[in-house]
Symmetry: C2
Amino acid sequence: MADLYLVLLHHPTVDKNGQIVTTALTNMDIHDIARSARTYGVKRFFVAHPVKALRALALKIMQHWESGYGSTYNLTRKDALGLVRLELDLDSTLTTLDRETGMRPRLVITSARGGGERVTFEQLRQELRERPEPHLIVLGTGWGLAPEVTERADVFLEPINGPTDYNHLSVRSAAAIILDRLCAPR
Amino acid sequence: MADLYLVLLHHPTVDKNGQIVTTALTNMDIHDIARSARTYGVKRFFVAHPVKALRALALKIMQHWESGYGSTYNLTRKDALGLVRLELDLDSTLTTLDRETGMRPRLVITSARGGGERVTFEQLRQELRERPEPHLIVLGTGWGLAPEVTERADVFLEPINGPTDYNHLSVRSAAAIILDRLCAPR
């Protein structure tokens, strides 16, 4: 069984006009995705943001739940936030993973948009059971990951399709569904 | 195919000590769950809160996205928020549904906790395809729905289980996973 990691990227992402932007770091993203990651056995959840001051702010809020007042008020949050590591970008995340595991993970790129050669959830679910390398699922913010990131995919995962043509889930909801499809017991 | 509705209840819910409480109305819950509801073809998403001032505040924020500046800035949000109706509680929601559909929906109660006679996701998925009545999925906030609500279940849905024993997903993530399990095309 492959070890599963998640990274949430805030740069380089695109805005609704396709321009490359850096998105804001959202406290709720960290909390929600950490709880989903904890539920589905993800080894670590990296939150990557290039702005040092925003990483420092995120760390301060996390410390409230991990060692401050929140750590006694809500133990389940402390437990989930223990999976979170702040990083600069995708490359710094890969460096950290390489240092810790001695392996380069397969990059699983996600996107709400269709197109390109895509791997189905079912295929990836199977591969996670059969392959030994760690897998890093890359999630974008804003209107999605920039092409320079998606081009690095070892696995380009199919979009989440509901029965409608609407494809604007929040990244928090998308992360939950992706982990459920890949990791839920059957 | 049964029409599917969602309601998010803020009262009566329990806190971490099992006391009956009214939880705060959270803007992010409305946005995230509306987007998931829109993705999976839910007919309407009711947000029930007993405090009039909080319903008024929620309405004001929704109007920003539906007819204010936000409606031109982000069309996809307007689209999703069009599904939302503010209600007082479960009974006012049922009255609204009865007036609109002329039918009493089957109440599908959700809970992160195990125990009791539970219906599996697979069973409910099948029933949604075979039964004609509308189904109303009831989601709780805080530490979950109060017993007086869960006792009214026509369908008491099994909890979402990952491969770990951690069962503290956010209600936003839980709603997304529930809809995906019940409504995603296969």
